[in-house]
Amino acid sequence: MTDYFASQQKLLKTLTDKLGDADLADDFIENIFSIGDRYSLTLGEMGELCSIFEKIIREETRQDELLENLLEKLGASEEEVLDITAFLEELINQFKEIEVIAQKLKEVKKELLK
């Protein structure tokens, strides 16, 4: 069983570093846990989701491979895992869009501080 607290903390740190905003990072975390609530995942299984999400946004690769292994890691049914995968993909896309904006904001801030 995954230590969900450690995975959640790691994801929180990566998200806060990448987005530069604690509230946004917290929103992402809450989104992941809300999908877990919907499909009655245990905290350990949610830890797996956090861990996979964190690896994808940190490494920016192996997305398909990591998402493919979800079925083995979760106690959910196959149908549920498909839903969860689709949800995570959407969330990853959202993250990528927000990350671009966060990057631009950082540059603007830098410019303003000059």
Partner: protein, 435 residues
Amino acid sequence: MEGEPKNPEKKKTGYEKKTPHELEAEKKRLEKEIAEKEKKIKEKERIIEEGKERIPRLKRAEEKLRAKKEKAEKKLKEEQKKAKEYKEGAEKAKERLKQTLAQVKTGYFVELTPKRKFTDPEFMRYVPGDKYMALMESHRLTDAEKEHVTRARFKFCMDWIEHSPEMKEYEKKKGKYKEAFDEWLAHKDAPIPEILRKPEPQLPYQETPTGREIRETFRNDIRNIKELIHINNYMPEMFDQFAIVGHIRFPMIQDIRKNEAFAGRGRHIREAKVTDFIDIIEHVEKILGPGTEKDSKKYFDTFSVEQLEVLRKRMKSAFDGKERKEIAGIGSRSWQSPITLDLMDRTVLQGFRDSDEGDKRIIVKHLLLAYKAGEKMSEQNKDALRWLISVKEGPVFYNVVNVAEEVSIDLRKEINIEEIAQKLGVKVFSGIVVD
């Protein structure tokens, strides 16, 4: 000879002073010795000769043994192959049976299947839930027969729990662990026993196909409360088992509690689902004593940092196996225990979003007392407190300031939110301190 100097140290040969009779006796002794040695040499020569003769015989025996071994290995491989084929065959037969049972019309299944099949555990085990339900509602079977059907259907679960070597091993290890835990906790200054440094033994359901099947059955396959009602009617002992109830999803447990058909057993079933929590909480309650078992201040005063670490490690693995909303639904005795409150982070806290203000107040009060306990504060509680005071969702959940004053009076120490934020490395969310 007279001129030669006397030398008392001159080495004697041993023959100088012997009489002819003695010499003769010595000669005989030596001859006997030589004869014995010759005899021994001859014996050895004979053994060597015999050995030379035996070598081919030994070689032949070795060859025979090798041939036997090869034959045995070949046979073993054949048996293994057969076993594999049998296993695959059994798997295929199982799959075919499952498919056939899924395809056959429910009405035909109930009316035309010979009754004896309904009490065959190897048949009933693979009957889909809808067909089992139809059987339970059918007039073809008497009430007693329905009990037999139910017992046949879930026999594999009870067999695994009561007789499998994995479960026996687990029970043994768990018993030793709990005993060591109880003893150590009662002796505040005793060093941590080695057994408690290792992770607590967990249910071995993932290690065996049957264990996995039980989990799959109760977690994913049974989604109909009526099926659980039948199990409760005909085989209530199933719901005494953590190895069964632990897999049932939390929303289903809530449905059980609300359903009258469970006739007051709902609370018992919920307790069975959180046996892992109750085990730890009971230890803590025993130490804190009656009347103060929920007193967070006493909890921090009583347990050492080392003891808290071990308690939290145990509780953490129980948390990992629960849904987050489940923590809020495990009953006030369980979630209001300081050891449960101690493991609450931002994630678990949000499971209490819909709880009343009084419940939220209990959590926040524990967080502030934990903060005041300094190094005894858990990482999870730090995360929760950070979230409450620095993230916009935090104050929406509960305004820490509302409790801070009360705790300050209780402890006769002022609690300053700005100071907490600084120590936890965050900034106070701008909306929080403005009333």
